[in-house]
Amino acid sequence: MSPRASRSDFGGPCCPRCWRDLDPERVLSGAQSCPHCGGVFEATRFDPPPPRVDVRAVEEAGPDGAASCAAHRGNVAVGNCTRCGVFMCDLCRIETDAKVLCPACFDRLSAEGALPSARTTFRDFGRMGATLLLVGLVFSVLAAPFTLGAVYAGVKELRQRKTLGEGSAVRAWIVIVLGVLGTLGSVAFWVMVAVAGGAK
């Protein structure tokens, strides 16, 4: 067995030290040593149960018993797609984000980014906001554009967290509050400068 091309190229159980493949049958729970590198590690092995889908054939249900699936004519339909209404069997049924979808609608919605649980790429707005705040701090009285950007990023972070159903948004709120304070401070400074200049 050869080492994996890269650590992200994952394809099953491997040694956590050298990342070479391990024979799944030989890995047991408890103290283990890698046959390749000799490294010792503690392991807990799992045997995931195979997915079980009960699909009834139309012949079994009888001609009056059920409609057939749109994609699998021989299978009994168990429901409709909540988006397009097509009949689906248990093989086609995809339940996600409080929707029951057929494979085609799932593909379409996940490509559009409309299914939060199927999304895999995001922007880290929280970090972006924190960076803008720091830049604003460096620019001191000229901070307004950066702190406004931080507020925008904070709001985007809040929205994203709400969409994804993620918990604590403390960082986003801190960024928003500090961003607003920074903007107000910067604007107040220039207003005072203008007023003082006008008074002279």
């Binding site: 790429t121 995001f122 880290d124």
Partner: protein, 162 residues
């Protein structure tokens, strides 16, 4: 489980990875710059959870170098830095040397959660208790889910109607 709970992280030079436990899976957020790529290891896909001791080389080298620089600075300032300044330099160097020794002696723990197609890895430097806690929690989450699926899939005893 409501929302998601942070379990641990792994920090490298180019990216950071955070691992969270959610209702159905372990989520791995890989952050490069301002881009986040999310991967998931579903509880019903977990095949192996491991824990092993590791040497945290990056923190050791960093604190060692800082100790060295501090020591050389103190050596250069000997005779000049008295009173509070000398004491401050001494305390800083002592803290850095202690940290380096601790890192070498205690080290860290790494946990991997391996699924059929994806994996999550977390490093815990100087936090063995937390590492053991996370290891047990990861095992429990995967075991509970897989046992539930196995129970649902088990054939019903004869005479019992669904």
């Amino acid at each position: 489980m409501k929302g998601r709970e942070k379990l641990g992280r792994r920090v490298a030079f180019s990216h950071r990875r955070y691992v969270y436990a959610t209702r159905d899976c372990f989520e791995i957020d890989e952050i490069e710059g301002y881009d986040v790529t999310r991967k998931r290891v579903f509880y019903d896909d977990v095949v192996l959870v491991t824990r092993h001791r590791m040497v945290p080389w990056a923190p050791i080298v960093l604190s060692g170098l800082l100790s060295l620089v501090g020591g050389l600075t103190a050596f250069g300032l000997r005779g000049e830095a008295h009173g509070v300044a000398g004491f401050t330099v001494f305390v800083l160097i002592l803290a850095l040397v202690t940290l380096t020794v601790l890192l070498v002696a205690v080290g860290g723990d790494a946990i991997t959660i391996q699924g059929k197609r994806t994996q999550a890895r977390m490093d815990f430097v100087l936090r063995r208790g937390r590492a053991i806690e996370v290891y047990r929690r990861a095992c429990r989450l995967a075991r509970e889910r897989q046992q539930r699926i196995a129970r649902q899939a088990a054939p019903r005893p004869s005479g019992v109607r669904a």
